[in-house]
């Protein structure tokens, strides 16, 4: 249940650590796994090694407005066969306007619902799916 002002973890290497939901794209009340949202980057990754991060090319900065795909939700997601999945946190992956991921790697598990919503690029980047 991602809605306006929800804070999510960003689990790719785009440079964002924590983002805030600014809008759910589509006629939806709230976003679930596989839904697209607009986010504001609130915290950058690698605050300690800021110079390093800048050198290695943190692709997004604090205050940037980006699109993202929700990959994990705290809210239970029921599948067609009656099984449910629930994660401990809300997480997303940043994408550009055309739907390609900004980062090149994802660290962390992502939900299987991405397959149904045609996010195969993100699924293939993820180390594990549940």
């Amino acid at each position: 249940m991602i809605q306006l002002k929800s804070m999510l973890n960003c689990i790719d290497n785009s440079g964002a650590a924590i983002v805030e939901c600014a809008m759910v794209i589509g006629q939806k009340r709230h976003a679930s796994i596989g839904d697209r949202i607009v986010v504001v980057v609130q915290k950058q990754r690698d605050a300690g090694a800021a110079g390093m991060a800048a050198a290695s090319g943190a692709k997004v900065k604090r205050g940037d407005i980006r699109h993202a795909v929700v990959v994990r939700t705290r809210q239970k997601v029921t599948r067609r066969d009656g099984s449910c999945i629930k994660f401990e946190d809300n997480a997303c992956v940043l994408i550009n306007k055309s739907g390609d991921p900004i980062g090149s790697r994802i660290n962390g598990v992502v939900g299987m619902e991405l397959r149904k919503k045609k996010w195969s690029r993100i699924l293939s980047m993820a180390p594990s799916q549940a």
Binding site: D81, S83, C84, F87, A91, G108, P127, S128, Q129, A130
Partner: protein, 239 residues
């Protein structure tokens, strides 16, 4: 309103007279239908309104309206059911989805069955790797019986509900039993960081290794074979 002097009051009011007549007519009609319904008086006094004949064989009155006695014709009386129909349906469905009874036995209230606190491994038929986790609760609800498993995948807690009679669930196996019986039916406290078990991957890998030891040389690399056997596997029971 009613204080008009007697002299000026009309002796007969056509309207009221007509109204009274109409009411009487309605009354007589309704009386007639009541007689019809009960069919008490034999058709001594012929009723012009309705067609009725006394059947020669059965000696019952046949009228324009079908009158069914409660038991003899029409619907047979359904005897009151002694069994719970919902439970009967669940039994029927369980028999259909679990002909061997292995799944039922795995979560029955017996000593050797799986209990909360055990580490279970669920193999899914529709792709994906098998999901292992601590069983936090068993929701017993007939055909809808489900188990809640919790695990950590890459530092993130993941919880999944599985319906045990689901055909997509190829097998459920007990990886490790809890040392002592849990004193709660639902171990929701295991979500708290203090009691959280963390990842169960090491238990699963140890269990896999031990199974490989038990296996004979002929069945090499067949770890998944029993899992995908289709019957709620009970590999962990040998412990």
């Amino acid at each position: 309103m009613n204080v008009a002097p007697l002299a000026r009051r009309p002796l007969v009011c056509l309207k009221s007279a007509v109204r009274q007549a109409r009411q009487q007519k309605i009354f007589s009609r309704s009386m007639a239908t009541e007689v019809q319904a009960t069919s008490k008086p034999p058709s001594r006094s012929p009723d012009r309104n309705f067609y009725r004949v006394v059947d020669k064989k059965t000696k019952t009155t046949r009228s324009a309206f079908a009158i069914y006695p409660p038991t003899s014709a029409g619907l047979p009386l359904i005897p009151p059911t002694t069994t719970n129909p919902v439970a009967a349906l669940h039994d029927f469905q369980i028999k259909k989805l679990d002909p061997t009874g292995a799944r039922t036995a795995l979560f029955a209230r017996t000593r050797e069955a799986a209990k909360v606190g055990d580490i279970l491994l669920v193999t899914h038929r529709r792709g994906g790797e098998p999901f292992a986790g601590v069983c936090l609760s068993i929701r017993r609800a007939g055909i809808d019986t489900a188990v809640l498993l919790r695990n950590h995948i890459g530092k993130v807690g993941v919880e999944m509900w599985f319906k045990i009679y689901n055909r997509n669930v190829a097998g459920i196996e007990i990886v490790k039993r809890r040392l002592k019986r849990a004193r709660r039916a639902r171990l929701t406290y295991m979500r708290k960081p203090k009691h959280d078990m963390g990842s169960v991957a090491e238990y699963v890998s140890a269990w896999r290794k031990s199974r490989r030891v038990f296996q004979t040389k002929g069945a090499k690399g067949k770890t998944g074979a029993t899992t995908a056997g289709g019957k709620g596997g009970k590999g962990g029971k040998k412990k």
